[in-house]
Amino acid sequence: MARIIVVTSGKGGVGKTTTSAAIAMGLAKKGHKTAVIDFDVGLRNLDLIMGCERRVVYDFVNVINGEATLNQALIRDKNCNLLYILPASQTRDKDALSQEGVGKILDELKKDFKYIVCDSPAGIEKGAHLAMYFADDAFIVTNPEVSSVRDSDRMLGILSSKSRRAEQNEEPIREYLLLSRYSPDRVKLGEMLSVDDVQEILSLHLLGVIPESKSVLNASNSGTPVILDEKSDAGQAYADIVARYLGEDKPHRFIDEKKGLFGKFFGSK
């Protein structure tokens, strides 16, 4: 059975697209045929993060409007042949996405793909609503920072009342916390909310912590999902997250600061 995962947060800039690209690549690398969809109509960026921006011919809205077939619009990833990207449209028409149209496309994708990752736009407008509406699982990307935590809680409220599963009284969406841009050093100094703090406030199952890392910018600069940078801490964190999601038992990492005085002088990249 195919599963639809929404990557959402409410707040912008917390790492939704980075996360969508990384986990979609991770799932595909594990041998599961995966599609990743950009729901940010008007401000598409997933194509850039995935490094396929020059191969976009047709987009999500073209398929909904019947101007292209799904197969024409899906872009096969250059690093992994089990991964496909459906880019967002750059149209400024806010109503380009319809619930019916999105539902149809997801139904069609479900026949062929094991996982469908929906990269939600920020906010709680139509695009964000449609990205989460059909979801089976939700990855809540949160930064250890007050506005992000608050917005995540708001998204949880929306997931539990406005999603298809909620409306049809089905088993609720499974919600997972991904805490990103985490700095164990700052937590130690009392300058940043800890994993435990955020979990206590949101009462969510923790799927993983992604440390603040230079490798994330390096990855987006070059258009390769950070999970492919297997030496980087963020890449490893995402690999762990994918493994945990698939049911593997991986102890949590990157929660405690890794370096003593020695490490500070001979620090990692």
Partner: protein, 88 residues
């Protein structure tokens, strides 16, 4: 980081302040999330009716909606002014 900072850490850290603020805020927002959407309008209209007869303050009325497994309760609390109005 200066040596002085080490002595200052006994003061409440900014992270614990953040946690405290969030806990209060999130609890408040969650409780209002489960309320029926008509509640603010109901409160406004009730207040209008009451003010026809009694001169109460805008904030003299509180409407609480509570839900448990078996029942839903709507609790209405109106604080009357100390000197009752004589309009009858």
């Amino acid at each position: 980081m200066s040596l002085l900072d080490y002595f200052r850490t006994s003061k409440a850290s900014s992270a614990s302040l953040a946690k405290e603020r969030l806990q209060i805020l999130v609890a408040h927002e969650r409780s209002s999330r489960n309320q029926p959407s008509y509640l603010p309008q109901l409160q406004k209209e009730l207040l209008e009716v009451i003010r026809k007869y009694i001169n109460v303050e805008q904030d003299a009325i509180s409407v609480n909606f509570e839900q448990n497994d078996t029942q839903e309760t709507l609790e209405l609390n109106i604080v009357l002014p100390e000197h009752q109005t004589k309009t009858s």
